[in-house]
Symmetry: C2
Subunit: 431 residues, 2 copies
């Protein structure tokens, strides 16, 4: 076991992180945004840049686990592990910070700690494979494998991309065997991981609306996602008086508006108690200008940090669907699409995170994450927390996604401090 | 000029008409319904049956005008013309009565009058070409050409079917030259037409709801059809609190419900004053379960028999669209798709029609037609009226479309009497 740290850590700085982010963006983006789609050539280019950078500046190798996640290990005085990172992959035409911010800031965390000697515990920087699921539709692939929640044979073996390339073949092209992906869980457990920390761009408008540069993420919301089908009777628009219709689209329209009201009703006054309800897919049959809709499918996506609230929202939405169906003389049927438990983050790490954010941003606003992140998978197996950098504009998966530089600076510094205090916390816990 | 009628007309009978309808259905339907799509082989088979029938039973030839409409002429004592008919073409999988009822009943009208000697005026039975527009999307093609309202070069020359066949080529296959279609108007005017009478299945639920077997059609409703586009901002469903959204689909949903209310508000208590409002096409962008809609296109089809009411409905819908856009922080833009004037039918023929319907059905309920018919084109150039046979169920363009036999019987008899009194009216008018 190497000797413990001797020198003091330097003050957290964002300078090299922002320079590295710009370098990576220049190498892996077009005028339409980031193009680092997992398992493809531009993503491999990003990983080659990452490998060179880590080797040149830290003298450390990049290892790949059985699920294709890339790891850099800075050995510490103790084998106990502190893990941090995010993902280098992007959607096609994504933002310059989505995912890469947490990985590139993680390089700086390693540089900062390595310069001070041997850390008290072992530090692991991870670049999760295929967080976005942009090519095959299954997101959080790598982190789910590490968390032991991925059933690769069932979930991945049959997937095919738009060009007809099978996922197992795309994995093999990247040195990953589908049958062995599940071993990533043991791979991680063997590293005795004690905490997971992730910095990510918010990709929403909450911090901007609060005028806060950095936020403490309370956890990821649970998700209840369903397809709701209203069935009425397709009839001629000209021939059928309104009172004699069974208009499935109008039933769906009433349902969608009721779901918005449910989202507003169950939202508390603080960001922490915010919930959302969204109807994003609407398919009207037969879909002619001269036909009253005989059937309409509408998706419902409900999210809340509190599982009990989420269950109440769903019950209210089911009731609203029955009322909308009855009013329009239609029937309604629900088909579940996805159900994810809320993942509240660790109370101790939340305190450390709030301290770090407060130090650089003056205030530590707390908010849940509506979107999922790799941290949601890690929260199932170890204490976890996330830092959000403000988005401005508060939109996602577009090249316009951005964080103003002063806010980015504060976010990176808070993250670096949080890694430092988490390392100290895990070390103190052992002692 | 042939001598006038000497024998009395036989009592109106539906027997041969219903037998002929069954014979034609057997020859031109599959288990999925009627397949007489205009300009295709099954439609030609229906016309071949029609030609044989007319030749065998009446000894009369079928002539085709420059737009492909098929005509049978029973010369009368006067060259003044009374026109009646409908269309042999159908949608794919259509009902057994849609269109053919009026043509086959027209054969019976000719048989009935021919058996009594020379009618006082000349009688013209017409089978309009391509009423449905099922293959190329332009309905009322043949009757519009005859009415002088078709601009074939502009409206038809560019049309292509799903298999890539150009409409001009499909026309040529049937002996019709696109450039000459406009001559159908002069062809009809040369026949000195003084009245047009059409029997059609209602294809809606109004008569069934009123428990009436036969109806007097007051005219065809005017149509205002538009595509309305709401534009908001596409954002992540999880990341964006409801109050910060600009949800274009919810704006469209509120608009659709407001349009239903407008339809109900402007409808009077009687079938005559009924109006309708329908949103049949809804296209949500980007259309992901995890995305708030950034833009939604929704169609609006407004119909009323009274043009002033139709204009008020459209103004109310425009106002409602602006309110829905504002409430959801979206913008709205309207694009016109179709604007058709109401076509009220002739007061004198309406009286004759009511007398004929009352004779066989005991009562003469009056209702407008929401759907268009060839009669709408004829109403522009001569006094016109229509008879509706009750639909049960009140649906259209499906093999399930039907009229119960007792109601069919009464409808056919009323139509035959109406042709008789119209012939007498035109003759009396000349005298």
């Amino acid at each position: 076991m190497p000797p413990p740290r001797t020198k003091r850590l330097s003050a957290p700085s964002s300078k090299r992180v922002i320079a590295d982010l710009r370098e990576l963006a220049a190498r892996t983006s077009t005028e339409r945004g980031a193009q680092r789609v997992a398992w493809g050539p531009v993503w491999r280019e990003a990983r080659a840049w990452f490998t060179e950078k880590v080797k040149a500046e830290l003298g450390l190798p990049v290892e790949t686990d059985p699920a294709g996640n890339a790891w850099v290990t800075l050995p510490g005085a103790s084998p106990r592990g502190v893990v941090f990172g995010s993902h280098l992959d992007s959607v096609p035409g994504g933002g310059w910070l989505d995912g890469v911010l947490g990985v590139v800031a993680g390089i700086e965390a390693l540089r900062r700690h390595a310069a001070a000697g041997t850390p008290p515990v072992t530090m692991h920087l991870v670049d999760w494979a295929d967080e976005e699921g942009a090519r095959y539709g299954r997101s959080l692939t790598g982190s789910a494998a590490s968390a032991g929640t991925l059933d690769a044979a069932r979930e991945l073996a049959h997937l095919v991309d738009r060009n007809g390339v099978k996922l197992p073949d795309a994995l093999r092209e990247n040195g990953v065997e589908l049958e062995r992906m599940g071993h990533a869980h043991a791979w991680l457990k063997a590293r005795d991981p004690r905490a997971y920390v992730e910095l990510h761009i918010e990709q929403g408008p909450v911090l901007e609306a609060m005028k806060k540069p950095v936020g403490v993420v309370l956890g990821t919301m649970g998700v209840e996602r369903h397809m709701v089908r209203f069935t009425g009777q397709a009839v001629h628009a000209g021939a059928t008086p309104i009172p004699l219709r069974q208009d499935a689209f109008l039933a769906a329209a009433e349902f969608a508006l009721a779901c918005r009201d449910i989202g507003l009703k169950f939202s508390g006054r603080t960001p922490k108690t915010r919930v959302v309800a969204t109807c994003g897919v609407v398919k009207v049959e037969p879909g002619f200008v001269t036909a009253v809709s005989g059937a309409t499918d509408i998706s419902l996506d409900l999210r809340a940090l509190d599982g009990a609230v989420l269950a109440k929202m769903q019950a209210a939405a089911e009731k609203a669907s029955r009322a909308a169906a009855k009013k329009n003389r239609c029937t309604v049927a629900w088909s579940p699409l996805l159900s994810i438990e809320p993942r509240p983050f660790d109370p101790t790490l939340l305190e450390l995170c709030a301290d770090a954010v407060r130090e650089f941003a003056g205030d530590a606003p707390k908010l849940p994450s509506g979107p999922l992140h790799d941290a949601a998978e890690m929260a199932g197996i170890m204490p976890t927390v996330m830092v959000f950098a403000q988005s401005s504009p508060g939109i996602s998966h577009t090249r316009l996604e951005d964080t103003p530089i002063p806010h980015l600076d504060k976010s990176i510094k808070a993250f670096l401090r949080l890694v430092e205090t988490t390392v100290a916390h895990v070390a103190a816990d052992e002692a």
